[in-house]
């Protein structure tokens, strides 16, 4: 299927929705027909700014982006990481103002869909509305896992867990961290995990010593996925990646 190998635009979003939701061909065609404009942004560009109104839904086609919030004294916490195929702001379909900032981590390519077009689809097609909700609910589930990760795991498990998660989520866009590099700096990892850059550096060294990751200069990739998952105490349940398959078998059974 060549179009799947080189997603053009909203197809990548469609593929992600199909991971967790069953959609009729009509629904799928409706998404594929959404109007969008493409945009390229440099690393560090702000896509959505905290406190502002947002009337577009950018979909990440390539590259990484993240949601972050800041304390009064400028301490930054990255609260979510967005990967290719992820919609960056389904929540603005339902909420007026952005409560956090969305920024690019690497150079990214976006497909920008006007919210009113998405709203029109969601109002007309209940299955699509459900898929959007499922997507938001899974993002909340990932958020809960992050809370646990940052609140209760030690540095080694935290970092290993994040890398495992990225690997599993990238599988949706057919990328593998076993073969490609993690485009995140140590400072960014520190902001992602609530650790200091020095601590990240030491922990990366430990992961490398354990054979779980391989480093080449600033590049990080997975060396031994099983070992990494062990160290991370990782279970992919919270990603609900097989939700659509489970749903299908339940419906068939009923």
């Amino acid at each position: 299927m060549p179009p799947e190998l080189a997603p053009r635009g909203v197809d990548l979003l469609l593929r992600k929705l199909l991971y967790h939701s069953l959609l009729s061909t009509d629904d799928q065609d409706a998404i594929a027909a959404l109007p969008f404009t493409r945009r390229r942004l440099d690393p560090g560009s702000i896509i959505i700014r905290e406190g502002e109104r947002c009337d577009i839904c950018p979909i990440l086609l390539s590259g990484f982006a993240y949601r972050h919030k800041m304390t009064g004294d400028g301490g930054r916490q990255i609260v979510a990481l967005k990967l290719p195929g992820d919609p960056l702001d389904f929540q603005s379909l339902y909420l007026g103002r952005a409560d956090h900032t969305v920024q690019t981590l690497t150079s990214v390519e976006l497909a920008i869909v006007p919210n009113r077009e998405l709203e029109r689809l969601v109002m007309a097609r209940p299955s699509l509305a459900r898929a959007v909700v499922v997507d938001i609910v899974i993002e909340a589930s990932i958020g809960r896992e992050w809370l646990l990760n940052i609140g209760r795991r030690n540095a080694l498990a935290r970092l290993a867990h994040l890398i495992c998660e990225i690997h599993h989520r990238l599988a949706i866009s057919a990328t593998s961290l076993v073969e490609s590099d993690l485009p995140i700096t140590q400072e960014q990892l520190a902001d992602l995990l609530g650790l200091t850059p020095v601590h990240i550096n030491r922990t990366l060294k430990e992961l490398e010593r354990a054979g779980a990751i391989v480093r080449n200069g600033r590049r990080i990739r997975i060396g031994d996925l099983d070992r990494l998952c062990d160290l991370a105490d990782f279970s992919d349940l919270y990603l609900h990646a097989h939700e659509a398959a489970d749903d299908r078998s339940v419906r068939r059974g009923g």
Partner: protein, 356 residues
């Protein structure tokens, strides 16, 4: 498919698809390294080119009982004895032995030699074949190693569980000895239990190697929500710790951290904590065998030694560390905050702690 097929002129085009003899030969050829014959007395009298190709023996070396010389020296006597017994009793021989290869080295082979009867007159001759079983032997070896490792792990685990029960009992009895409200005791006990649990996670993550001292300290501080910054500096060379050192030091760091949070540098405005260590020579002059660790608090208003702190944490640092780890320790409540130094001999098994 075609490459593996046996093509022979003996196979008739019609009738039976193959004669039994041809089939048997094809199967044996596929299975065996070599097939050979001896006379009725078990003496090799004819050539076996496949054996010679495999073992590198010459014809003269192979003949008579010479083939036994192609076996591993450790196995020759046993095989010779068993072969004589087999011939004397007219029973088959079925053994596993290492067989030399032409290129040098040995490969495990199964030798299977059976007597062929010539009517009622007893044994007419013997036929033997050798089958390469190296892959199986290697798999068995790996399985044996894996089982041995598992046995070590299980016994290590049992040891650790018993040890953990002992540690928890001791922590419990020392914690309740302090004369304090039950809520205080509960809080302290839970904190110590959490620290033990964190250490167990670390030990599980480092089953194959030592635990890094700096990461141990950082994890303990992280558990209390404290990280390095302007008010906290952490620094020293890479030091690997054994499980026992890890458990006790982690508990000591927990006590120091808790104290600093409640009364010391991590609570006082303007307080500062400095954690440094270095590796030095021990009393016998052996380089890099003595860990000198210093926990120094600054900027804490001078207050008298709190009796509360004289409990578990004090016992641990002034008594358990010297007793269990051979460490020399000093702890003082000076103006400015706690000064604690720990000199810990790491020796070989400490510095380069390997899989235990």
């Amino acid at each position: 498919m075609m490459r593996d097929a046996i093509i022979t002129k003996d196979v008739p085009d019609q009738g039976m698809p193959c004669k039994a003899e041809v089939c048997a030969k094809a199967l044996v050829d596929g299975l065996a390294q070599a097939v050979w014959e001896t006379d009725a007395r078990g003496i090799v009298v004819s050539d076996c080119p496949a054996w010679r190709r495999h073992t590198g023996q010459s014809l003269a070396e192979l003949l008579d009982h010479g083939w036994i010389a192609a076996l591993h020296p450790d196995e020759r006597r046993g095989v010779r004895r068993r072969w004589r017994t087999a011939v004397a009793r007219g029973r088959k021989l079925d053994i596993e032995a290492r067989l030399q290869t032409e290129g040098g080295g040995y490969r495990w082979s199964r030798l299977y030699i059976v007597p062929l009867r010539a009517g009622d007159d007893g044994i007419g001759k013997w036929v033997g074949m050798s089958i390469d079983i190296m892959a199986r032997k290697e798999a068995e070896q790996i399985l044996r190693q894996s089982e041995a490792r598992l046995r070590v792990l299980v016994s290590d685990l049992q040891h650790r569980v018993r040890n953990m029960a002992m540690v928890v009992r001791s922590v419990f009895s020392r914690t309740i000895r302090d004369e304090r409200p039950i809520e205080d005791i509960a809080e302290h006990f839970r904190g110590r239990l959490d620290s033990l649990a964190r250490t167990q996670v670390m030990l599980a993550q480092h089953q194959e190697g030592p635990v890094d001292l700096e990461n141990l300290i950082r994890d303990e501080l992280l558990g209390a929500g404290v990280q390095d910054g302007p008010l906290l500096s952490i620094g020293g060379p890479d030091v690997g710790l054994t499980p026992v050192q890890t458990e006790l030091l982690a508990l000591a760091f927990h006590e120091l951290t808790t104290n600093a949070l409640k009364y010391g540098a991590l609570r006082a405005p303007g307080g500062r904590l400095e954690i440094v260590w270095s590796m030095n020579a021990d009393a016998d002059g052996r380089e890099d065998t003595l860990l000198d660790f210093k926990w120094t608090e600054h900027g804490v208003p001078a207050i008298p030694v709190r009796p509360a702190y004289r409990g578990f944490g004090m016992d641990l640092i002034t008594d358990a560390l010297p007793h269990r780890l051979g460490a020399e320790t000093h702890i003082e409540f000076l103006g400015g905050g706690v000064h604690c130094s720990i000199s810990l001999p790491l020796s070989e098994q400490g510095g380069a702690a390997s899989a235990a």
